[in-house]
């Protein structure tokens, strides 16, 4: 079975997984309103890291975050990152895209290539393998974990360091603004008054390995699936087709009552959350609690799948289902049990669900101690 060895989250809410969990459990969010930042004409609400002015340093802010997050997870796992039996997989949508801005002069432009950015990390750790970058829109973080599970299952590596990261910039914020996808206030996932998403900076790392025997407290990445809506490149399916199929694929013959919760994508755009409610109901999961963490972090893009998996593992470890910050009144047409406050659970498994542009969807079934 594929087992989580260690993990880390770096976000505006903390630089360890534990700090992040404590902050979120107490209801903290780093979402703030920014007016005039990066010369953008429209204000926006986002969860941003402090940018230092180290323009002549060796690494960009994106590279610093992936190296720092990986470093902390590697040191907790106590593995030799320089070994050729260790693979690095990076999940990101836009990497160093801000280097395309003509005003950014401190770094070679080639670092805008995602493979080059990832190599800054592997070179730092003296790892000889070519890093794999998963760039599958907003589902990248779950896809990267699925790619890691497959490499380990095939016996190609002993450890996979799976790092998810995106750093916000004028490029990304203006793009989402041009789509009218951003909320002018803090986002409200699944709520009747939701009107768009917020964006966020984060890096998160999970290290996986393969084991024959699993302890009761060890987290198993049990099954993952990626499916397409085959419907539209920028709009979700009206039948939740890809998310439904991804959910069915990871559920297998698992009883829904074994699930503590479904941690949804829950971006708080009108269409995404509606689509997810359709998919979750079609998959027979209406009775399972649903939450979204976007009200704490915003949408952290390439980091989201990794970060939200880590937060969900910690919640189950704490016998807790995290509240959906920003949610008050159900505003999707299919009945969902969305958590509006922290709630206790005795269950040991959850599903992480994501969807993204290009019609892609991904689901990951995580089970503590394996399925029992």
């Amino acid at each position: 079975m594929i087992v989580c060895v260690s993990h880390n989250i770096i976000s505006p809410l903390g630089s360890t997984s534990a700090e992040n969990y404590a902050a979120v459990k107490s209801g903290k969010s780093a979402l703030r309103r920014y007016d005039g930042l990066w010369g953008l004409p429209e204000p926006f609400v986002a969860s941003l890291m402090n940018r230092d002015d180290d323009k002549n340093g060796r690494y960009t802010i994106f590279e610093k975050m992936i190296i720092e997050s990986a470093q902390k997870a590697i040191s907790d796992a106590n593995i030799d990152a320089a070994s050729d039996r260790v693979l690095f997989i990076l999940s990101t949508t836009k990497g160093n895209v801000f280097l395309l801005d003509k005003r950014e002069t401190g770094f070679p432009k080639e670092r805008v290539r995602l493979g080059m950015a990832a190599m800054q990390m592997t070179e730092y750790f003296h790892n000889p393998n070519t890093p794999l970058v998963v760039s599958n829109a907003c589902i990248s973080g779950v896809c990267a974990q699925i790619m890691a599970m497959r490499e380990l299952e095939a016996g190609n590596f002993d450890y996979v360091v799976t790092v998810g990261c995106d750093v916000q910039s004028a490029f990304i914020v203006s793009g989402f603004q041009s789509f009218k996808a951003l909320s002018p206030d803090e986002c409200k996932p699944f709520d009747a008054n939701r009107c768009g998403l917020n964006l966020g900076d984060a890096a998160a790392t999970i290290i996986y390995t393969k084991k024959d025997k699993v302890g009761d407290n060890e987290w198993v990445a049990y099954r993952g699936a990626i499916r397409n809506d085959a419907n539209h490149i920028s709009g979700p399916s009206r039948t939740g087709e890809g998310s439904y199929r991804a959910l069915m694929a990871v559920l297998g013959d698992l009883e829904p009552s074994k699930l503590a919760f479904v941690n949804a994508h829950g971006t708080a755009t009108p269409y995404n959350d509606e689509m997810e409610s359709i998919a979750i109901e079609r998959a027979g999961l209406s009775g399972v609690p649903v939450n979204s963490l976007k009200g704490y972090y915003g949408h952290t893009m390439g980091a989201a799948g990794v970060l939200e998996t880590i937060m969900s593992m910690q919640a189950v470890d704490d016998n807790n289902i995290l509240a959906t910050r920003g949610f008050e009144t159900l505003g999707v047409t299919h009945p969902l049990d969305v958590t509006n406050k922290n709630r206790s659970t005795e269950k040991h498994a959850f599903i992480k669900l994501l969807s993204g542009f290009g019609g892609c969807n991904a689901a990951l079934l995580m089970a503590k101690g394996g399925l029992r």
Binding site: K94, V112, L114, T130, L132, S135, E153, S178, I226, N228
Partner: protein
């Protein structure tokens, strides 16, 4: 097992190793290939270059497979790799926001600033509900590509894959080397 293979560069097209006669080069060649070998999918003209290259390559591949069917299926995955991700569109989008005096961010360009859109275009065209994935490595590496494609068959639903390399640095510079692979 590899069933069919398509190679496209700005001045060469090969299907299963046999060169096709082409009348033009670069972006004009893609349009000519569309008119000659597809013809009934006007969405093609809205696509960015990366999607056009991947789409045309997939059409030639599926024509080589024969018995084109558009019945929905979940057992076929589309999994691509490249070097430049969506760099052409990233550069084009940056130009729309570079100048504060002339700031016109375009949603039509922004949507293509994700490399995996090409996999979605192919899934939509053929009604594939299966896996679609996009991965980036800094140089073409057949071993890494084949290893990951073999791995994808660990999903018990997946019986065949349209997979390989689809890269584009600008409108006139691109390369596709894709194949249809069965379990």
């Amino acid at each position: 097992m590899i069933r069919h293979q398509v190679y496209i560069s700005p001045n060469e097209v090969k299907v299963d190793g046999k060169a096709l006669t082409i009348k033009s080069c670069g972006s004009a060649m893609l349009t000519d290939l569309y008119r000659e070998h597809v013809g009934d999918y006007p969405k093609f003209f809205k696509m960015d270059t990366l999607s056009k290259v991947g789409f045309i390559a997939s059409e030639l591949l599926l024509n080589a497979e024969g018995d084109r069917s558009f019945d929905p299926r979940e057992d076929r995955a589309v999994i691509f790799f490249n070097r430049n991700a969506s760099l052409q569109d990233d550069t084009a989008y940056q130009a729309t926001i570079q100048d504060p005096e002339n700031f016109f961010p375009s949603p039509a360009i922004f949507v293509y600033t994700l490399p995996n859109i090409v996999t979605g275009e192919i899934a939509i065209r053929n009604k594939y509900f299966g896996e679609t994935s996009f991965m980036v490595i800094d140089s073409f590496d057949e071993k890494i590509i084949m290893r990951n494609l073999e791995n994808a068959f660990q999903d018990p639903i997946t019986k065949s894959i349209i997979g390989g390399w689809v890269d584009c640095s600008d409108e006139e510079h691109f390369e596709a080397n894709i194949f249809l692979m069965e379990k």
